[in-house]
């Protein structure tokens, strides 16, 4: 049981970070980003490819995974999203454009896997597991693999630095202003274009980092994004889609319930239900939407006095 909980914590950290990325992009640009699936998969592949090339510990390459996907996110913004926002495209068009981007990235990631295989013949880019490379700390009564403290430390560090960024830096405050009222922000001289670009960078980088964390526990392959997209969306939606911290919370709820819930179900009813693990995030998401449509973000907003949340009704704003 303790092992199940520890594993669940790592999976949840990865899902929570990537879900927070979805929310950051959605809050600022109103784009529901399907390409997030591929961003996460890219996190897997950056870590794996660099590990093959340079060796050492997989953790060395986590920053590169975040940086690389962040830059891909910026590229997506500059080539596609920016022009659609300028034209005032509706939400469904924005969503569909990221679906197109996702298909392109999916094709490219598959080609990337082919490339790794052709240059490094002994590699397994369509089925790799980095879990065994993880150093294990022996605390006497329990053995803890490094991925557990590292993923939790990463989540806490991201929360703290995002908090600092959004409340104590000039650009962070400008970002919150833009999210609340883009027109007013522009009047006040905020470069909203830069804000959107930063949002895409942070959002995509979080997806890459989430993917890197997940690569330490799950089997990596080009289709990993397709598997993770639903828990990621579920985490973001359960979180309420208008609060970064709500979606971190939502990601943890989804990840923990998926891992621990299926364990309990298998234990009490029967192991044939393990195959239904992917259904748990869906059920939680649907329940959350039907009974708690404001999301976990609203809970946090009540507690924290709407500090980092986008108010639901923005009078007269609009892009």
């Amino acid at each position: 049981m303790i092992e199940v909980i520890l594993t669940a914590l790592v999976v949840s950290s990865g899902i929570a970070l990537a879900a927070a990325g979805i929310t950051i992009i959605y809050m600022s640009t109103e784009t529901f980003n399907f390409a997030h699936a591929s961003f996460t998969a890219m996190g897997f592949f950056v870590v794996y490819h660099m590990l093959l090339l340079f060796g050492g510990s997989p953790y060395y390459y986590f920053p590169f995974a975040a940086l690389f996907t962040g830059l891909v996110g910026v590229l997506v913004y500059l080539t596609v999203n920016k022009w659609l926002i300028k034209r005032g495209a509706d939400m469904v068009t924005l969503m569909m454009s990221t679906l197109g981007v996702d298909l392109i990235l999916f094709g490219l990631i598959n080609h990337w896997a082919d490339f790794i295989k052709s240059t490094i013949p002994e590699s397994q880019p369509r089925n790799f597991l980095l879990r065994n490379m993880d150093p294990i700390f022996n605390l006497g009564f329990i053995e803890i693999p490094a991925r557990i403290p590292i993923s939790l430390i990463l989540v806490v560090a991201i929360i703290l630095s995002l908090h600092f960024f959004l409340t104590h830096t000039k650009f962070g405050i400008a970002m919150r202003t833009t999210i609340e009222n883009p027109t007013l922000a522009r009047v006040m001289g905020v470069n909203t274009d830069m804000v959107y670009l930063t949002a895409w960078f942070i959002g995509a980088a979080l997806a890459g980092l989430g993917g890197a964390i997940l690569s330490m526990i799950d089997t990596g392959s080009p289709i990993v994004g397709i598997r993770y997209i639903v828990p990621l969306f579920a985490g973001a939606i359960v979180g309420g889609l208008y609060s970064v911290f709500g979606s971190l919370l939502g990601g943890f709820l989804i990840g923990l319930s998926q891992q621990i819930g299926i364990y309990l179900v298998a234990l009490s009813i029967g192991s044939q239900f393990i195959a239904y693990k992917p259904a748990i995030p869906l059920i939680i998401m649907v329940l959350a939407l039907l009974f708690f449509p404001e999301g976990l973000g609203s809970l946090q907003a009540k507690l924290r006095g709407r500090l980092f949340t986008k108010p639901k009704v923005v009078g007269g704003g609009g892009k």
């Binding site: 469904v92 969503m95 569909m96 999916f106 195959a275």
Partner: protein, 366 residues
Amino acid sequence: MIEIPAWMVEILFTFGIFLIITVSLNFEVGYAGIPQFGRVLAVLIGAIVAGAVPGRLLVAMFNVSVEYGGEEIVPIGADYANHLINFRLVDRINNEILGVNPGLSIAMLIFTLLIAAVFGALIGYLTSYPALRLKEAYLGITLLAFGDTLQLIARNEAGIVGGTQGVFIPNFFKWTGVGSIQITNKILAILLISAIIFLLVELIGKSPFGRSLKAMRDSEAAAKVYGKDISRLRGYTLMIGGALAAIGGALYVSYTGSMDARTFTRLTWTFWPWAFMMLGGTGNNVGMLVGVLFFALFRYIIVAYKTVLEGFIPINTAWLEYILIGLIIVAVSMFRPQGLIPEKPKTILKREEIEGVASSTSEEGA
């Protein structure tokens, strides 16, 4: 008897099946403005019906038995889908019953499509619960989640349609001949049904119901002001769209002869139709025709000229296909969001006619 050449079969098959799916999607998205990101749900239920119902029914009707575990059994429950039993059973059905009985074959095909439509409508009715309460991205993701869940069930419950082993579908066209003649007949049947569905949706679109859907899409408030019941309109739309998509799913597996839940991915059965629809022109059925035909030809060309393409683009054509379809979606949403053939705005009466009507009514009033 005409024979469709082999190279055209793949194009016409893709065209016929995806025309049905895309027209049903366009009915919900283009006409009624519902973000249907779970098209695969209704398609899959149609395929499940085709995989589960007609075979069992024929087994029960004709007492078809097979030898299993040392004894003769007539499997109509979960054991029908057992992969050790199913292929022999369907083989017997095809050879002994459907192959020699054209009337029954046609009746069973029509019956299967009808049952599929009923289940598709039922699924549409069930999805109207969230569709009335959620908006835009939230609804889209919920519908997507429903589709994934059903696929998960079909894949894991081996007793329905064989799980990952799949089941075989009775061949309703066995009596028409063998080889390319049979394939020609199958293709003609698919094209006939997709033409009927196309005309049906076109007629519905021009009817008062279709016009109120478009009114609802453009402004819910305005539609409400004119006394339209929004929840009823949305419910009917989802039911009709679901029924049509289910027919498409049932036809697809009836053509291929086997049903494997794993082939019903959201990519192929939700996102592709979205791409076809966007390319053709959302809200316009003729656009669907163009969009689907374009993609059917496009896919054929990529597969046919695989080796040539790989010569100058060093990417496996399987991945190249994803990249190109992705590029088309991005390009359409960026440069031509209205699609190749945009929806025509509803023409109003000519000025003289309006003046005529106005003067006649004012005379009446005077």
